[in-house]
Structure formats: structure tokens, C-alpha cells
């Protein structure tokens, strides 16, 4: 007996829920050789706005968690991702046109990256913070704090490893994220959002938008309630990136310019530290 195909509907991930685009729009996603894969939601400006509202709402709770707890949560994401290795390997394979072995390697690398960042959660403050020697009767120390809501344009080519590599450092430091997934390869991002939803990440900490960047990116760049903007995904479009940077200047967002990243190598601390604000406390002592 033949079964009827149960095709997966790829939706957005906003505030812990998986809504369709408010606009009702969708677009066709094709595999590396141009064959039809699925329809994905085409997020509108309003979806981007809703995602920012959700991220802002999640920020106080997420940033107030202990660093240790955030590390545990990110480690849990790695566990759940490991459990869905086969599904993601297939999606990455079809999206990126790689061999099975290569795409499995990419999923493994993504899991490893999550574990790596999870380990950093409660160690970063010791590295980038600390006590400062001052010539006055004060105990003076600096602690890093998350900057807030971060808008991220995920890498266009690396659909899973690249995505994890830009989202994990923002989340593990206590920020909340609105990420616009790769335009042509959005499906692994939606599945990754399902992984997040079934691990212990609170709703709204990571919000995933799919669709063309023409609506979502300028909204994130100009939104006054977004504190930082990662333009990694605008690599192939220098003029567009410049325009987004100009929009982001209105409320002095932190902006990360697009650069050629090699996702296979050790990422270093940079992607965590650019999203931290240093708070320095002067505590009177003696006399």
C-alpha cells in the first residue's frame, strides 16, 4: 500500500512559537541543483518587528540567568542536535549539494561548536573581566554584560554550521537574537529552531526569520530596540551592507561588518566579546 507524502511545512520561529508569516507569503526553496525542496515562509517587516518584541521580552530573563546555567542550556542544545543528526545531515546535503559524508561532518562540527561555546559561558567573565589596579582607596572591578537584542544576518552559504557559529556566541553571553536565515538555504535553520524549542532555550531567545532580506534586514537595522547588528550574511552585497550600517547608526548599534569567515577553524572569542558591554564598579574600601 502506498502512503500519502507528509510534507513538512517550514515556518518562522518567533517567541517560542512557529507561526506562518503574518503577510501570508511564502517562497520556493530549491536544492543545490535547482530542484524543488519546499515552500518556506517569506517574513515581512511586521514579522521582523514581532521577532524583536519577542526577543526584547525574553532578554531580562535570559540575561539574568547565571552564566553556568546558560552554558548548561547551550550544551543541552548540542545534545538534542546530536539526536537529530541524520535529519539535519540530509537537509544540509540537499541544501548545499555536498556529499553525505561532508554534510555529516558539518553537523558534527555544529554540535562541537555548541559544546565549545557552552564551555565558555562561565569562563568568559574571568578572561575579559577582572579587577583593575587603581591608585585610590577603591576595589575596582569590571564585569562583562550582554548588550541586548542582536539582529543577525546568518551566512548565506553555510546553512547550519555558519548559522550555529553566529547564533551560539550571542546567546551564550546572555543576548537574545533575531536571526535572518540564509535566503536560498533556510531549511536547516528552521529545523535548528525546532531543536532549540525542544531543548531548554526559553521562547524568544532565538527567533528565526526566513525569506528575502529586502524586508527583514532594513527593519532590523533601523529598529531602535535592536542593540547590535551582525552583517555576516550580507557578504556578497557590499552596497546593501553599507546601507544597513547607515541605518544602524541612528541609535549607535554595534555593527559587525561582513567578512570572509572560515567556519571550519577555531572561532576564537571575538564573536562573544563584541556583544558584551563592560560594567566597571568602584567600590570604596579602607579609611
Amino acid at each position: 500500500m502506498t502512503r500519502i507524502d507528509v510534507r513538512k511545512t517550514y515556518k518562522l520561529a518567533i517567541g517560542g512559537a512557529f507561526p506562518r508569516s503574518e503577510s501570508g507569503r511564502s517562497y520556493e526553496v530549491t536544492d543545490a541543483s535547482g530542484g524543488f525542496l519546499a515552500n518556506a515562509a517569506h517574513a515581512s517587516r511586521k514579522d521582523a518587528r514581532d521577532a524583536v518584541v519577542a526577543a526584547r521580552k525574553a532578554f531580562p530573563g535570559w540575561s539574568a540567568r547565571t552564566a553556568y546555567n546558560r552554558g548548561q542550556v547551550v550544551y543541552r542544545v548540542a545534545e538534542v542536535l546530536e539526536g537529530r543528526r541524520a535529519q539535519l545531515a540530509e537537509e544540509v546535503q540537499r541544501a548545499e549539494g555536498a556529499t553525505r559524508r561532508v554534510s555529516e561532518g558539518l553537523v558534527d562540527a555544529a554540535v562541537d561548536r555548541l559544546v565549545w561555546y557552552a564551555g565558555w559561558a562561565d569562563k568568559l567573565a574571568q578572561v575579559v573581566g577582572g579587577t583593575n589596579p587603581v591608585a585610590a582607596p577603591y576595589f575596582d572591578f569590571s564585569v562583562p554584560e550582554p548588550t541586548g537584542v542582536v539582529g543577525v544576518l546568518a551566512p548565506q552559504e553555510s546553512s547550519l554550521l555558519g548559522l550555529v557559529s553566529v547564533v551560539a556566541p550571542a546567546v551564550v553571553t546572555g543576548n537574545t537574537v533575531v536571526v535572518a536565515a540564509s535566503v536560498r538555504r533556510p531549511l536547516p535553520a528552521v529545523t535548528f529552531a525546532e531543536v532549540l524549542a525542544t531543548s531548554d532555550v526559553p521562547g524568544g531567545v532565538v527567533n528565526v526569520l526566513t525569506g528575502l532580506l529586502t524586508d527583514t534586514a532594513p527593519t532590523l537595522a533601523s529598529h531602535l530596540d535592536v542593540n547590535a547588528l551582525d552583517l555576516t550574511g550580507a557578504l556578497g552585497d557590499p552596497d546593501g551592507a553599507t546601507a544597513l550600517e547607515a541605518d544602524a547608526a541612528e541609535n549607535l548599534k554595534r555593527v559587525r561588518r561582513p567578512a570572509q569567515d572560515d567556519w571550519a577553524t577555531d572561532p576564537g572569542l571575538d564573536r562573544m566579546t563584541w556583544l558584551l558591554e563592560t560594567k566597571t564598579v568602584w567600590h570604596p574600601i579602607g579609611t
Partner: protein, 323 residues
């Protein structure tokens, strides 16, 4: 619709006795619950964009009764709120002031000092707000104190216990007594808003009856709720009350205002209410003199939406006051 048998002349007689009042209120046609909710939901889907939205946002700002009714209120907080009422958005001179500030009676003097000369009214809740569980003398003293401190508007609560047990005449006479207590020495009178607390009235039929009762007793406004009971203002309740004021004007020629209060937090909710006002009661009510929003956090959302309209950028809570 309802008053085939009622002329203004008959209405004068309905409060002659408890029995007559009950006969009249129970003679009002019942509310079609499913129909009312469906109509409210349908009107809530209207798309209000661009210039209509700009108009609606400004109108909604002008209709806000900026409210603080907490046990922890201080003179400082009321002064801050009153200043915000006069200039809701200091970055935009075109932003209109709100209609009123609404405070507890003991803070009326403070609010009045701050808003003097600005055209912003001061409303005071009274009559043992929010429960209304005190003797009539205490309630009337509460009202007189508020009016003597300079309140322009008084928000009273009805005795829901009496209403629900069917002692309509008692509620009626209480409203009349409060109305009398609203008089000032110079012969003028503070505006009276009657809070029905629809969250405790159980059915839409009761809401319709309470609305008529409050209007017959002489209330200038009928207000949905205290904001202390959930559910507070909902769209179908506002719709039923707007039908009541529309029918009341048809029957008597007197216009009564409506004030939904509590639970309206977003500009979108406010605009839905304005659509219902226009469609049910008519454009005459699209004026701060006849329709108000009792709210506090609503104003910030309206201001953020105004900023979006003006600049094209979505604003955030960092750019409005914390209150």
C-alpha cells in the same frame, strides 16, 4: 431597536419603584452573545493604515485617561504622570495632550496643581474604589472630598452586589446621590463616570441593564471596569455598551460617553475600539468628550506607533518613560 414602548415620557416613570425599574430593565431585549462577539471580532479585523492610522493614533492619545491607581502611588509619581499627560511626547511638539489623569482622591490636589491651565482634566475615583463596599455616607464623603480638592471628573463604582441581587432601585438611588454630591458651590458639577465592573456582571444582558440603569440615573459616562478585576474591558462588552448609549440617545436625546478601562495595552487594541465606536455608536462619539480609554501602558505604545509613523523606524521601550 429596543424601546418600541418607551418614549422620553415613559422613561421618567421607570424609576418610580423597584418593580417598575425591574420591569423596564428586564424588558430590554437580550444580547445575542454569539452575534455580539462575532461582530466585535469582525470589526476588529478592519485594516486601518497610513493616514487613517495617523488620525486614529492622535485621536486615541487625546482620549487617554492616564491612570495610576496603586497603593504605592506617591505625590512624585502623580506629578510625573501629570507632566506626561500634558506633553506625552516631548520630542514631538505636534503630539496632543491626553484627556485626563485619573488618580485616587487624596492625590487630586497634586495632579490639579501640575496640570493647571493645560486643559488636561483631573479625574478621581471615589465611592470606596475599587470594591465599593462601604456605607453610602462614606462613599458620598469620598466623592465630596474629591470634588472639593478640584476633581473635574469623578469615577464611581456601582454596588455590584446590589445589582446582581436585583436591588436595582438601590443602585439607581446611589448613583443619583453621588451625582448630587458632585455639585460644586458655584453651581457647576463634576462629570460623573459610572463604573459597571463588567468582569463581575457575568452576562452581556447584565451589562446592557447596568448601562441603562447608570444612564437613567444621570451618569455622564459609563465605564467598563476598575482595572482591578479580570477580565476588564473587552471588545464585545464595549460594543454592548456603545449600543446602549446609541439607543439611549435615540430614546431621550441625551448623549452619554463610554470609557473602556483596563486591559487595553496596545495601539492595535485601541484602534479596534475606535472602529467599533464608529460603526456602532457613530462618528459623534469619536471625540474625547464622549469616548475615553482608561489606561496607563497604552499611551507608551501609542507614542511608539506615532514615532514609527513619523520616522519610519520602529521605536522601543528605551525611548518612552517608565511608569
Amino acid at each position: 431597536m429596543p424601546l418600541a414602548a418607551s418614549t422620553p415620557h415613559d422613561l421618567a416613570e421607570v424609576a418610580a419603584s423597584d418593580a417598575a425599574l425591574r420591569r423596564f430593565l428586564h424588558g430590554l431585549p437580550g444580547v445575542d452573545q454569539v452575534g455580539a462577539e462575532a461582530r466585535a471580532a469582525m470589526l476588529g479585523t478592519r485594516s486601518i493604515k497610513t493616514s487613517s492610522k495617523a488620525f486614529a493614533l492622535d485621536l486615541a492619545v487625546r482620549m487617554v485617561d492616564l491612570t495610576t491607581l496603586e497603593g504605592q502611588d506617591t505625590a512624585g509619581k502623580v506629578r510625573a504622570l501629570a507632566s506626561k499627560a500634558m506633553r506625552p511626547d516631548p520630542t514631538d511638539p505636534a503630539c496632543p495632550p491626553v484627556a485626563a489623569v485619573c488618580v485616587y482622591p487624596d492625590l487630586v490636589t497634586v495632579a490639579k496643581e501640575t496640570v493647571r491651565g493645560s486643559g488636561v482634566q483631573v479625574a478621581s475615583v471615589a465611592t470606596a474604589f475599587p470594591s465599593g463596599r462601604a456605607s453610602l455616607e462614606v462613599k458620598l464623603a469620598d466623592v465630596r472630598a474629591a470634588v472639593a480638592s478640584g476633581a473635574d471628573e469623578v469615577d464611581m463604582v456601582i454596588d455590584r452586589g446590589a445589582f446582581l441581587t436585583g436591588r436595582y432601585l438601590q443602585v439607581f438611588e446611589e448613583i443619583e446621590a453621588v451625582l448630587a454630591a458632585c455639585s460644586r458651590e458655584d453651581g457647576s458639577r463634576a462629570h460623573l463616570k459610572v463604573i459597571l465592573e463588567t468582569g463581575e456582571l457575568q452576562t452581556y444582558d447584565s451589562v446592557r441593564r447596568a448601562s441603562w440603569l447608570a444612564m437613567l440615573a444621570g451618569g455622564d459616562f459609563i465605564k467598563t471596569s476598575t482595572g482591578k478585576v479580570s477580565p476588564a474591558a473587552t471588545l464585545p462588552v464595549a460594543l454592548v455598551m456603545l449600543e446602549a448609549v446609541r439607543d439611549f440617545r435615540e430614546a431621550t436625546g441625551r448623549m452619554v460617553g463610554v470609557k473602556p478601562a483596563g486591559g487595553i495595552r496596545t495601539a492595535k487594541d485601541a484602534i479596534k475600539h475606535l472602529v467599533v465606536v464608529n460603526e456602532v455608536a457613530g462618528p459623534d462619539w469619536l471625540d474625547p468628550a464622549w469616548f475615553r480609554f482608561g489606561a496607563s501602558s497604552l499611551l507608551n505604545d501609542l507614542l511608539m506607533q506615532r514615532t514609527k509613523q513619523r520616522t519610519g523606524r520602529y521605536s522601543g521601550p528605551d525611548y518612552v518613560t517608565l511608569d
